[in-house]
């Protein structure tokens, strides 16, 4: 091999290494959701860095980031045809009226239908967004914490989310994770983590702080 070829080969190797390093950096950024330095974001619920639950500003930043992520997911869920929704709601109402006399077979057919799961997913996601809107609009800490509790309850519905996502993906109603915007990917992994994070990083310390204050001082 000539010196020139060896030099060209070295340049090529450096270029390849640089591209690999860049890809790793990009991947790390994707995995961490690419947090802008300083601003609190959803990642703080999973791996808290300098997140201070006492800071109203940080809680709002975090809620705003969660809302952005949620909106990206909601945007890939196509709207449900009104007739389909009506059909599901009608069947649901009939079964509800039958109460304990409802046939298990009919119940399971409903629950495992694409239309029912579509309705469930929309309800779950829009409910979570409403809870975030409630957080963002709250003017005092007590009602804000009630909104965080609602949000946590929604995000922790991991089994219903799992069934809905799988049913809709199998029916090609929802794109695969890899075809969704990065911040909307893997909701099944992240939403439960966010829900637990809200409990551990916000609600629990808040309740502990409230419980620590003697009754007469509150």
């Amino acid at each position: 091999m000539t010196a020139r070829r060896r030099g060209a080969r070295r340049v090529l190797q450096w270029a390849v290494r640089a591209r690999v390093a860049l890809a790793v950096l990009c991947m790390a950024s994707i995995l961490s959701g690419g947090p802008p330095a300083g601003a609190a974001n959803a990642w703080d619920l999973v791996h808290p860095r300098d997140f201070d639950w006492r800071s109203h500003e940080q809680r709002l930043e975090l809620a705003a980031d969660l809302r952005t992520r949620l909106n990206l997911l909601i945007a890939v869920v196509p709207p449900q045809a009104p007739q389909a929704l009506e059909r599901v709601q009608h069947e649901q109402a009939e079964l509800e009226a039958l109460a304990e006399r409802a046939s298990p077979r009919r119940l399971s057919r409903l629950y495992l239908s694409r239309d029912y799961q579509h309705m469930m997913l929309v309800d779950l996601l829009t409910g979570a967004r409403a809870a975030l809107d409630c957080v963002l609009a709250a003017t005092a800490v007590e009602p804000e914490m009630a909104c965080w509790a609602q949000l946590s309850g929604r995000l922790l519905q991991e089994q219903p989310l799992d069934v809905a996502l799988r049913t809709l993906r199998e029916a090609h109603v929802l794109p695969r994770d890899e075809d969704m915007p990065v911040k909307a990917q893997d909701p099944l992994v992240w939403y439960g983590e966010y829900g637990r994070g809200v409990l551990e990083q916000i609600l629990t310390p808040y309740l502990e702080s409230v419980a620590a204050v003697p009754q007469e001082e509150r």
Partner: protein, 196 residues
């Protein structure tokens, strides 16, 4: 969390876990052959399925299937037990093949459908899982209580506490000796009362 309880005795012993797996005891032999039988590969396969065995125990089932003279019912049970072990090891496709062979050999044994439904649940094929549990209930043999219990678990996953409670209560009625069914029914009744 894992619940387990023996839900059958005699020839067709079964074990029930939270995920609904039933290990089937091949039902062959008479008293004189018991010692020989208990050392057999099919029996070891059954024990492995019963005791939460995994990929390492699959070989013993394969030996039983390939080398042990088994009557059709026992062969079906052994395929089904290997299916459970394969599913635990994450080999869902192979597990489903075994469950299908078992059902082809003995289409009238309810617990074979329960075992396949367990694998379907692992694969998150809930429609298929539900259909298998309905078949097991329709067959109505000595595994029917387990089928109700498993369907209760599935209804609970689907968010219908009332349907889950009704099935769990039916399981507890059919097999009152099984603590797991009673406890689950009571737990669901408490949740139902709290939500009213």
């Amino acid at each position: 969390m894992k619940r387990s309880a023996t839900v059958g005795s005699g020839a067709l012993g079964m074990v029930l876990t939270l995920s609904g797996a039933l290990a089937l005891l091949p039902a062959q032999g008479v008293a004189a052959e018991t010692i020989l039988f208990n050392e057999s590969s099919a029996y070891q396969c059954y024990r492995a399925a019963l005791q939460g065995g995994d990929g390492d125990d699959i070989e013993v089932c394969t030996i039983a299937i390939e080398h042990q003279p088994l009557v059709s019912r026992d062969l079906a049970a052994t395929y089904s037990n290997r299916g459970l072990l394969l599913a635990r090891a994450g080999e869902i496709e192979a597990a489903l093949k075994d469950h299908e062979k078992a059902i082809m050999l003995q289409p009238d044994i309810g617990s074979l459908y329960i075992n396949r439904s367990n694998t379907y649940v692992r694969a998150r094929r809930l429609n298929d899982a539900m259909q298998d549990l309905e078949r097991a209930i329709a067959i109505g043999d000595d595994s029917v209580a387990a089928a109700y219990y498993n369907r209760a678990l599935l209804f609970q996953q689907l968010g219908d506490g009332r349907a889950a409670r009704l099935d769990a209560e039916r399981a507890a009625e059919l097999a009152p000796e099984t603590e797991a069914y009673r406890a689950f029914a009571a737990e669901l009744a408490r949740a139902d009362a709290a939500s009213d």
